[in-house]
Amino acid sequence: MIKLSKYVLYDILRSRIILAYTLFLFIVSLSMFQMEENSSKAMLSLLNIVLIVLPLISLVFTTIHYYNSYEFIELMLSQPLSRTRILLSEFVGVSISLLSAFFIGAGVPVLLFAANDTGFALLFAGGALTLVFTSIAFLAAVYARDKARGIGFALLLWFYFALIYDGLVLLILFSFSDYPLEKLTLVLSALNPIDLGRIFIMLRMDIGALMGYTGALYKDFFGSGSGILFTVGIMMLWVVLPLWLAVRKFKRKDL
C-alpha cells in the first residue's frame, strides 16, 4: 500500500497545486500574525480560515484528484491488487499531501507565534478536518458518475457543513428556546465536524467566556479529558465512516 501511495504522492506533487496551497496557507497565517499585535486575535482570524477554507480545499482538491487519477486506478485494476487497497492508497496519498501542506503552511507560523494550548488545538482541528473532508470527498467522488456531478456534490456538502447546518441549528435553538437545550446542542455539534472543531478551539480562547451558560457547560465538558477523547473519537468516526462507505461502493462499481 505504501508503494502505491508513494506514486500517488509523486503524481500530486508534480501538479504543483499542493505547493501553491501550502504557500497560500503560509502567507496568510504569517501575515495575520504580523498584522495583529495580539496573537490570540490572529488566532481567531486563522480559525476562520481553518474552518471555512480548509474543508473547501480538501473537498475540491480530492474530488478533482480522484477524477484525474482515473487512468491510474484503471491501470491498477488490471494488476493483482484489491480494490480496497487501491482506494485506500489513494486516500493515504491525498491525505498525506494535504496534511503536510497544512502543517507546513499553517503549522510553522502557529508554532512560531502561538505555541500554546490554543495553537495546538487549532492544529489538531485543522488536521482532523482535512482528513474528514478528504474522506467525505472520496465518498462523493465514488458515488457520482462524472466529474461535474462529483465536484457539484462536494461543493453542496461544503455548503451544508459550513453554512446551512449552522442556520438549521440556530433555527432549532430559537424555536425550542423555552426548553433546556444544552445536551441537545452537544449532540448537534457532534453531527458537524466543522462545528465540533470550532467549539474545540474556541473553548481554549478567552472568548469562550462570552458564550454564557451553554459555554460554561461546553467548557466543563470539552475542557475535561473525556471531552478531548470525545472530540478525537467523533472526528475519527467522521473520517472512517465516509471512507468505509466509499470503499464499499467502490468495490461493487463498474469501472
Binding site: Y10, D11, L75, L77, P80, D254
Partner: protein, 255 residues
C-alpha cells in the same frame, strides 16, 4: 483455464451480455469477434474484474474471481485505449508495475521493450506520447511478466505496420509456449495466422465458439475475413445459417 458460466450484465437499458457460457483452455488463441457494441470489451473487463456481473460466475484456474485479486497475476492485459497517469514517465511506469508485482528482473520478458525501442524514450512523460506509442507501451506491459493468460483488446489498432508485425510475431511465440491468448480485433486478416478458435458475439449474445478449421469447413472459405463476412450479413441469415450448420452436423452424425 477460464470458465464463464451464465454471465448476465445490464447497463441501465442496455443488455450488454446475455447468458454467456464459455470455456477457454491452455494453448488456445481465441478471437473474439463481433460488431461494435456486441459486448466483447465488456466480457474482457468482466474477466479482469473491472466490471461486475449481475449474475453468473467466472472461474480462472477453477477459482472464483470474486474477491481474490491474486488471479490477475496470471493475466497480461492490453487495453483498447491505454490510458496512463499523465505525469508519469515511461520508465517509472515500468518500475512501478515491477514493484507492484514483486517480480525479479530476470524473470521479466523485455523482448517487446527492446524491439519497440522503448528504452530510448524512458524519460518521456506519458502525456506527450502519440496513440501508437501508447499502444506499444500497453503491449510491452501486457507481455512483461510472462503471464500464462494474455488478453489483448484490439492489439494492432493504431500500430504502424512494422510494430504490428513485431507484435504478431510475439503473439505467435507466446502461442507456442502454450499460453491462453484472447484477442479481439476488427482487422480479421491479422488474426488469420494466429487464431485457433473463433468466438462470435452479437448484441450481447454468444452465437458460437468453435475451432477455425470447423468454421472454414462450414463456410467453405479459407480466409477468416470472408468466412466472418458471411456471418455478419444480417441477423436473420446468421441464425438461420447457424441452425443450418448445426443441423448439418447432427445429420452427419446420424448418417
Amino acid at each position: 483455464m477460464i470458465r464463464i458460466e451464465h454471465i448476465n450484465k445490464r447497463f441501465k437499458k442496455l443488455q450488454a451480455l446475455e447468458d454467456i457460457n464459455a470455456e477457454f483452455h491452455k494453448g488456445q488463441v481465441i478471437s473474439l469477434i463481433g460488431p461494435n457494441g456486441s459486448g466483447k470489451t465488456t466480457l474482457i473487463k468482466l474477466i479482469l474484474g473491472m466490471v461486475r456481473p449481475d449474475t453468473g460466475k467466472i472461474l480462472v484456474d477453477d477459482k472464483l474471481i470474486d474477491n481474490d485479486p491474486v488471479y490477475r497475476q496470471k493475466i497480461g492485459y492490453m487495453p483498447q485505449i491505454g490510458r496512463y497517469p499523465d505525469n508519469m514517465k515511461i520508465g517509472q511506469l515500468f518500475k512501478m508495475l515491477m514493484q507492484i508485482r514483486n517480480k525479479e528482473e530476470v524473470s521479466l520478458d523485455k523482448a517487446l521493450i527492446e524491439q519497440f525501442e522503448l528504452e530510448k524514450i524512458f524519460e518521456k512523460p506519458m502525456r506527450t506520447l502519440s496513440g501508437g506509442t501508447r499502444q506499444k507501451v500497453s503491449a510491452a506491459i501486457a507481455f512483461l511478466f510472462d503471464p500464462p493468460i494474455l488478453i489483448l483488446d484490439e492489439p494492432t489498432a493504431g500500430l504502424d505496420p512494422l510494430a504490428s508485425e513485431i507484435l504478431k510475431e510475439k503473439i505467435i511465440t507466446e502461442k507456442e509456449k502454450s499460453k491462453l491468448i484472447l484477442i479481439t480485433s476488427h482487422i480479421l486478416s491479422d488474426l488469420d495466422d494466429l487464431t485457433s478458435h473463433i468466438m462470435y458475439m452479437q448484441e450481447g449474445k454468444m452465437l458460437f465458439l468453435k475451432e477455425i478449421e470447423a468454421l472454414q469447413e462450414e463456410t467453405g472459405e479459407v480466409r477468416l475475413g470472408k468466412a466472418i463476412a458471411r456471418i455478419m450479413k444480417g441477423e436473420k441469415l446468421t441464425s438461420e445459417w447457424i441452425d443450418k450448420m448445426l443441423q448439418k452436423k447432427s445429420d452427419e452424425r446420424i448418417i
